[in-house]
């Protein structure tokens, strides 16, 4: 599958991003955009993205946007979760036990990684085609279509209108026409974007306490009391770490079904066994501001 990714030309990915990944509010177009930009910036093969680095820089980026304190910045910040999910996909694939593709499920997870790359490619392809379409539109705008009012001579031939609408019905039609367009947009809280440090080790420890009874627990119940979405994300990462360490068993009947978790490690297991790479806390934001934003793209 990686043959799909012959080269990722840093230059053409996003010219604006070459300037040290500066804040570009007008051009912010979502996590895929940012991810492509980061990959381009580091001239990385898309298949070997250095996750730690990319994650750090993305969080840095979001933080910079927040400091701008503009609505666009908030939009961007609210998309943190999407990129978090994207990075998580990558991370999940990397955390798999390596070198032993034993069964279909492992294979499927490995394929998920390729699918993620393919999705990035797909995104890039649409970007390219959009540029072509934009050029067509620009060229086309030089021509103007004839579109003129109907001559009265012909207009008078139209069949006489049959009108059965009462003024009250008409007013009702008007009311509905106005109402349809004035729904309030959905609000999305961004409280999850700041607050406290969360580490994979802490969450792994938390999971151990929850799972110690040896029974099978649904992932939903494991996160039922999580304080924030960030905790959920990190707890899930911790779960994957535990799986790699063979401390838990995972069972899922179908994609998107409940994920069942059983503790399998010895009773003396501690989170210290986990690798060092998660020692640094995930701290998405520290300016303490809170806000809720409308997740809308900025259309100039």
């Amino acid at each position: 599958m990686s043959t799909l990714v012959p080269e990722v030309d840093a230059g053409e990915l996003s010219p604006g991003l070459s300037s040290g990944f500066a804040v570009e509010l007008e051009n912010f177009a979502g996590p895929f955009e940012v991810l492509l930009g980061l990959i381009g910036k580091h001239e990385l093969d898309i298949t070997t993205v250095s996750l730690a680095q990319v994650t750090d820089e993305f969080i840095e980026y979001v933080r910079a946007l927040r400091l701008e304190n503009s609505p666009a910045a908030l939009d961007a910040a609210s998309e943190f979760l999407v990129i978090a999910a994207t990075l998580l996909d990558l991370k999940a694939a990397r955390l798999l036990p390596r070198g032993e593709v034993s069964d279909e499920e492992d294979l499927a997870l490995l394929e998920a990684r390729d699918l993620l790359f393919a999705r990035l490619l797909q995104y890039k392809a649409f970007k390219d085609v959009a540029a072509l379409m934009g050029e067509s539109m620009r060229i086309e705008s030089a021509r103007q279509a004839r579109s003129v009012p109907l001559d009265p001579e012909f207009a008078s031939l139209l069949p006489e209108l049959v009108w059965r609408t009462t003024p009250e019905q008409f007013a009702e039609i008007a009311r509905k026409a106005f109402e349809a367009r004035t729904e309030t947009p959905t609000e999305v809280g961004t409280d999850h974007l700041h607050g406290f440090a969360v580490t994979v080790r802490q969450e792994a420890e938390e999971l151990r306490l929850l799972l110690e009874d040896g029974a099978e627990h649904g992932f939903r119940s494991l996160i039922a009391h999580a304080e924030s979405v960030l905790v959920v994300v990190v707890r899930f990462l911790a779960l994957l770490e535990l799986f790699r360490d063979r401390a838990v068993d995972l069972r899922q009947e179908h994609p998107l079904d409940e994920l069942w978790v059983t503790w399998t490690a010895a009773s003396d297991w501690t989170a210290d066994r986990l690798s060092d790479e998660h020692d640094r806390p995930v701290l998405p934001d520290d300016d303490g501001a809170d806000a809720s934003v409308t997740p809308q793209e900025v259309s100039a």
């Binding site: 579109s147 209108l161 049959v162 009108w163 609408t165 003024p167 008007a174 009311r175 106005f178």
Partner: protein, 224 residues
């Protein structure tokens, strides 16, 4: 595809028409083909930076050419297509299906009168005596927001209303009444015929709808 002409001639001729293929005559054809109302020789002269007399002469030539009379030049147009209409090419000069007419102080392309029967058939094709739901909703928005631009109605309805608005104008329910002083956009209002259809004497008799419809104003940006 709405085309709202703005106050013409505020810009200098951006181009020397003589350098374009077809020269002045073709430039006039281009403008008149898409202008949605008659255009005066004066406005044409200003935009093209060509003396009015030259504009008039070129338009007269075009008109004669379309009418199948020989133009100033010796060359002539022969639009007859060999497959079918060869029979009529008696003189070698055949009128086109369109003509240039001066109406209300301006020039405009029209279908040639001889073809009125086929044009009528085309216009009437598929027309009904009832308004579509989309047309009724658009009419309702204009009725309660008049005078209002097409762009604003589009923003409120959330769909492009250019075609529907044209239909409503053609049906005599709406009319262009004014121009927005800032944007230059045409403003539309309902007609007396509309009131007649609704059985009302004046707009004041329209039933009240909730006095303030929140958010309508912010929708402006929807359409530059």
């Amino acid at each position: 595809m709405s085309n709202e002409p703005e106050a013409a001639g505020k810009r200098q001729a951006p181009v020397d028409v003589d350098t374009l293929p077809g020269g002045l005559a073709a430039a006039l054809e281009a403008i008149l083909m898409v202008a949605d109302r008659p255009v005066s020789e004066f406005d044409l002269s200003k935009v093209l930076a060509v003396p009015v007399a030259e504009v008039r002469a070129a338009l007269d030539s075009l008109r004669a050419e379309y009418d199948g009379l020989s133009a100033d030049t010796t060359s002539v147009a022969d639009p007859a297509i060999s497959e079918d209409g060869a029979g009529q090419v008696s003189s070698g000069v055949v009128p086109r299906g369109f003509e240039l007419r001066t109406v209300g102080g301006g020039w405009r392309f029209y279908s040639r009168a001889e073809f009125a029967p086929v044009v009528q058939a085309f216009v009437l094709e598929g027309q009904t005596s009832r308004l579509s739901r989309a047309a009724m909703e658009t009419l309702a928005v204009v009725a309660y927001r008049q005078p209002v631009s097409r762009a604003r109605v589009s923003a409120i309805r959330g769909v492009n209303v250019d075609g529907v608005m044209r239909t409503l104008v053609a049906r005599g329910l709406l009319a262009e009444v004014d121009r927005d002083p800032i944007s230059g956009a045409l403003l539309y209002a309902t007609t007396p015929y509309f009131l007649e259809k609704l059985g009302l004497d004046s707009l004041e008799e329209l039933p009240q709808i909730s006095p303030h419809l929140p958010g309508v104003d912010e929708l402006e940006e929807f359409r530059g």
